[in-house]
Symmetry: C3
Subunit: 108 residues, 3 copies
């Protein structure tokens, strides 16, 4: 099992979730109150003092079987893309174990 | 070292932290402002437009030695469970290095 | 590629981002609304009831090439340190794939 983690524009969240559901992925976890620096922004200096100026982001995590990673990544990329700098990045992490809390069942 | 990441009902957070402390795990990081879709909810359509309707979640992360994973997972599952759909999931990730910032000491 | 994840004091965020940029790392993702327990705090009992009393934290994530991990960790540790208990921890996770959403380009 893999964890696909996408850092996207905050205002693309609904489009991305909608695309995931249409592609058959109905489970996801979303982190809000996330900020990003990716060249466009980050820290700024005003009269010698440094301030934070991060762009609003959302992080969407989808755990899937190994064979689904490519399709999930493509689904998210197409839904999250505007074509302008700052569209975000996707990172894939390995999952060594997974459980459903309700049943205690091991999922992966 | 492993990172045990639990996506739980927001209103189970205190119970889960309390159970962790009682079981001897006094270190944890909690992400709030998290939303989840897991079949029960996610995106909804109203008159052709799509809206986000995520359930409120908290994510609790506990880094532990490999041999502790099973006990931590069990501790969290028992404290987070209501028995109704939507109780959450737990994912375990591998940790390749860990440091204590105060001392600079490498922990794993 | 590795994901360096630092759990720091919330009020050290600007210093850490500033140090990263000075060291040449201009990409990072920041999670706010994070709470931490690390011995100093966590759950408290008042008249038999348990309450959450987490310290305010920020989580800073920086994805870097394997050979950069040590330098990034050192950069963050120096900027985030006060020398008092509770300065935070850093965890390094393996990244199995990475993509730039704008271009669809695979980065790692
Ligand atoms: N090295 C990194 N580590 C962690 N997060 C990153 C990194 N680089 C970018 N990000 C996250 O991704 C978000 C978007 O990055 P961005 O789209 O600017 O990537 P990019 O590679 O600079 O692409 P572009 O050229 O389109 O701007 C950032 O706001 C940040 O949250
Ligand atoms: N594939 C997934 N990837 C990432 N997060 C997920 C995934 N599936 C579920 N989650 C997260 O776990 C939360 C709870 O999931 P949920 O308890 O509904 O799991 P479930 O397997 O559908 O179990 P149940 O049958 O009890 O509902 C979701 O709100 C979401 O945050
Ligand atoms: N085992 C752990 N798993 C996940 N997060 C942790 C763990 N231990 C600590 N943390 C996170 O790191 C933050 C700071 O931890 P802290 O600095 O207290 O670490 P420490 O090892 O107790 O060092 P110190 O002795 O300096 O207090 C905590 O508030 C929590 O968010
Ligand atoms: Mg950029
Ligand atoms: Mg469900
Ligand atoms: Mg401590």
């Amino acid at each position: 099992m893999k964890l696909v983690r996408a850092v996207i524009r905050e205002d693309k969240l609904v489009d991305v979730l909608d695309a995931l559901v249409r592609a058959g992925y109905t489970g996801a976890t979303v982190f809000r109150d996330v900020g990003g620096m990716g060249g466009e922004s980050g820290v700024v200096k005003i009269r010698g003092r440094t301030y934070e100026a991060l762009l609003p982001r959302a992080v969407v995590e989808v755990a899937v079987e190994d064979g689904e990673v490519e399709k999930v990544v493509k689904t998210i990329m197409e839904a999250a893309r505007t074509g302008h700098v700052g569209d975000g990045r996707i990172f894939v992490l390995g999952v060594e174990g997974a459980w459903r809390i309700r049943s205690g069942e091991k999922l992966g």
